[in-house]
């Protein structure tokens, strides 16, 4: 399922937060969104997810305008993991992941074996099966993040939107979440801070002051000039002599 947006804009009290964003993510593609703090990544993701209604422009899901779809229809296609979703309720990991089945269940519709299977698959994907009965407040930040991702997977989405999913995660789980996103055969858009993680995406979009200033393959896009302009740092690619892969090295602008 493809996701696209056309001339998307959102502003608050006259200040433009996102403006004129047009992009298309094709089926199965992983798009990384990078940009400095406050560059509009989260707002863009929320609009793509159908949570925030755009002030200008439109979001299209396989060519169908999202504003003509109901919230539940959108949720059956798009899952979204926001940045800081917390609760003080005493719920277990299983309770949290089961919430992901909400769009598939009617008001008082029956829970089926199929729902249970989805929940288990999702827990398995983020390596949290042994935590099912743990209470939310006993989990660490990284464990909570993995439960959120499991909840979004339990939604059986065709498009996955993740807002900085590797925050709070240790290096093992950072890499396993990213490789999970890559191996999933669903369309995904991931906001990332770590540019080296972003280089593993199929394409990268760079946000700067609310606008999408570059969109393309990682090694074409992340030029020293662009990184100086958007992040205010000097950066260059270094080649790993071991396997020839390239990674970014940064240093502070003088």
């Amino acid at each position: 399922m493809s996701l696209s947006c056309h001339n998307l804009g959102w502003s608050v009290r006259g200040t433009s937060i996102v403006s004129g964003v047009t992009l298309e993510v094709v089926t199965g593609e992983t798009l990384g969104l990078v940009g400095a703090n406050g560059s509009g990544k989260s707002t863009l993701l929320k609009m793509l997810a159908g949570i925030q209604k755009p002030h200008i422009g439109s979001v299209l899901l396989s060519g169908v305008c999202c504003s003509t779809l109901g919230q539940r229809e959108i949720a059956r296609s798009i899952a979204f993991v926001e940045q800081h979703a917390e609760t003080t309720d005493r719920i277990t990991v299983r309770d949290a992941v089961e919430l992901g089945r909400t769009p598939w269940l009617d008001g008082i519709g029956r829970w089926s074996k199929f729902d249970t299977a989805s929940v288990l698959r999702a827990l398995c994907a983020v390596e949290m099966t042994s935590y099912v009965d743990r209470y939310w407040h006993t989990l660490s930040g990284g464990e909570r993040q993995r439960v959120h991702i499991a909840r979004s997977l339990a939604q059986d989405p065709k498009v996955l939107l993740l807002d900085e999913p590797t925050n709070h995660l240790d290096i093992h789980h950072q890499l396993s979440i990213l490789s999970l996103v890559h191996t999933l055969e669903i369309t995904s858009v991931v906001a990332l801070h770590d540019l080296n993680h972003a280089t593993q995406c199929d394409r990268i979009g760079v946000m700067h002051h609310g606008q999408l200033i570059a969109l393309g393959r990682p090694h074409d896009i992340l030029t020293p000039d662009l990184m100086h302009q958007t992040f205010g740092v000097h950066a260059r690619f270094v080649t790993d002599p071991h396997d020839g892969s390239r990674f970014l090295r940064f240093h502070q602008s003088a």
């Binding site: 949570i51 919230q71 539940r72 926001e82 309720d89 005493r90 309770d95 919430l99 008001g107 008082i108």
Partner: protein, 292 residues
């Protein structure tokens, strides 16, 4: 059993128990809904200014004589409750809007402001117009009073409570979806604005109906949902029926206690709910902490 006893049970005791059960269930459910949707543990039906508004309406009718005898205390209380809720809702909308954490905070602050305003109005009316006898009667009503309840009230109370139960049961998954906030609920396919307006509206109507019949009975809407969360968990498929049932039982028991505690005298039921409820809740809190 004599004919008189039979008459007392049918005409007075049973109607009173039924109304108490409906009020308990309605107030407890209102608490469940508001705590879930506003993501605030302190939310309860009185927070939205509803009960204070009802008191103002009741005092305006009985003491200040507004309506010139044409409207009853219950009608005045209902009108006051709805008016106060509208004031709070308009204030919250003007101050915030949106669906996020900030909006939930704004509605609570608006509720506090509205409550203060209507409290002041009530005190003003009492000070200006009431004689000592009236003031005592009003105090009794303000703390909750089931004495005057008859079957005519039950005809009003039963549909109000039933409506609340049906709407809440229909929305158990929507209430669950708010666990991680309004944005998360939206991403799970919930029409956040529609659910908020419908459920908070039902809460307002239900509380206004209950308060106009029996006065403001505190504590039930705040404490029963918390107590039930510790007993049956936070999932609404169990929390909604458990809270409705516990609220009903709690209020019937409190009413009986209010009549038998001091022989020959009836205490305001609000006094009993707080006297019994507060220590019971403290116990549950402490036990809940040790069990996990």
């Amino acid at each position: 059993m004599g004919r008189i006893d039979e008459g007392i049970i049918w005409e007075y005791r049973l109607s009173r128990a039924v109304v108490a059960a409906c009020c308990g269930a309605g107030l407890a459910l209102s608490g469940v809904v508001l705590q879930a949707l506003l993501r605030n543990a302190l939310a309860d039906p009185y927070l939205l200014g509803i009960s204070v508004g009802a008191s103002t309406g009741a005092v305006a009718v009985t003491v200040a004589g507004i309506g010139a005898g044409a409207v009853s205390l219950a009608v005045g209380a209902f009108a006051g409750a709805v008016l106060a809720f509208v004031v709070v809702a308009v204030l919250a909308r003007a101050a915030g809007g949106g669906t996020g954490v900030q909006a939930a905070g704004v509605i609570i602050l608006a509720g506090i402001a509205g409550s203060q305003l209507f409290n002041a109005l009530t005190a003003f009316l009492i000070a200006k117009s009431a004689n000592a006898e009236q003031a005592r009667g009003i105090m009794f009503w303000l703390l909750g009073n089931l004495s005057g309840v008859r079957w005519e009230d039950a005809v009003f109370a039963i549909p109000a409570a039933l409506l609340g139960v049906i709407v809440c049961v229909w929305h158990i998954r929507a209430l669950d979806a708010f666990t991680f906030g309004a944005d998360s609920a939206a991403s799970l396919g919930i029409s956040v604005r529609r659910v908020q307006v419908l459920l908070i509206g039902i809460t307002a109507v239900m509380t206004a109906a209950m308060v106009s019949m029996v006065g403001s009975i505190g504590f039930v809407g705040l404490v029963i949902p918390h107590a039930m969360r510790l007993v049956v968990g936070a999932r609404h498929e169990r929390l909604v029926p458990a809270s409705a049932l516990a609220g009903a039982v709690f209020l019937i028991a409190s009413d009986i206690l209010s009549r038998v505690l001091i022989p020959g005298q009836v205490l305001p039921i609000g006094v009993i709910t707080a006297l019994v409820g507060a220590p019971a809740f403290a116990l549950i809190l402490i036990r809940g902490r040790h069990s996990k």
